[in-house]
Amino acid sequence: MENVDTMHYLFAAYAAIWIILAIYLFSIQSREKKLRDELRNLREFLEHRPDNRKKA
């Protein structure tokens, strides 16, 4: 088996692992940031207008 060729595949496999992990962790991070921003906005909104509850 041509050694150079197998090195390409070996590299591809390891690259794939890092990429998949990185994408997943980054997606968690960005989702978290968005959520925390929304949470902050919601908390501010509730603080400044406490009587804003809609009657059911």
Binding site: I28, E38, L39, F45
Partner: protein
């Protein structure tokens, strides 16, 4: 556990992970012998198999969390179930991507319907189905119940699937035989990588759980504020 303790634990885990990854890379490339027939390509094994093991552990965690949710009805179990399933799907994606990359130079085909690869595919599909069930039930409590039920079904199905496919493969043998035994010289590298992946699993599930608890908190606040979304 309050926020600062969480962050400290996360930082600690991340530190161990970084060291661990370097150690794992060393063991896989320098600490393990070169395989006779496949050469260096076989080193994919040190990350491919632990990914599978860790993915299975994640699904097992989903099973336990699903059962616990049905018993206790505590939202935290539902969050763990979701996190575990999602992380498991990710690890199995690693298995399904590295598998063909390994197979192509060795057996000259991208896909082999070998028992382990096929079972991995089915397991991946099963937990994707779990995510689908979660995606299409709007009410949080119903969602938790439905997905818990499906999570239990999926996990009970997994061994039967593996067994069926393995037996079917025996009936229709092909030239591709999967590696059975492992050279004792490869064991230290394998164990190291498995341990590192275990730490990785815990770390990623914790991160996902963190995200989920933030989302649940947002949902709770929205409900309390009576906001219509």
């Amino acid at each position: 556990m309050d926020l600062t303790k969480q962050k400290k634990l996360d930082a600690f885990l991340l530190g161990i992970l970084l060291i661990g990854m370097i150690l794992a890379l060393y063991m896989a490339f320098l600490g393990a012998p070169r395989e006779r027939t496949m050469g260096d390509l076989q080193r994919i094994f040190y990350f491919h198999v632990p990914s599978g093991i860790v993915g299975l552990l994640a699904f097992a965690a989903n099973f336990v969390a699903s059962v616990m949710y049905l018993i206790k009805k505590d939202r935290k179990w539902d969050s763990l179930a979701l996190s575990a399933a999602e992380v498991g799907v990710m690890f199995f994606m690693i298995v399904l991507v590295t598998g063909p990359i390994w197979a192509k130079p060795v057996w000259f085909v991208w896909w082999t319907w070998s028992p382990r690869l096929t079972s991995s595919l089915v397991l991946w599909l099963l937990y994707l189905a779990y995510m689908l069930v979660r995606a299409y039930v709007p009410d949080p409590e119903r969602r938790a119940v439905m997905s818990a039920v499906f999570g239990i079904i999926a996990f009970l199905d997994a061994p039967i699937v593996f067994f069926s496919i393995r037996w079917w493969r025996d009936m229709h043998p092909s030239a591709m035989i999967e590696k059975g035994g492992i050279d004792p010289a490869m064991v230290p590298a394998f164990l190291t990588c498995s341990l590192v992946f275990l730490v990785l699993l815990v770390y990623v599930i914790r991160r996902r759980l963190f995200l989920e608890s933030a989302r649940v908190e947002l949902e709770r606040l929205e409900r309390a504020a009576n906001l219509v979304r």
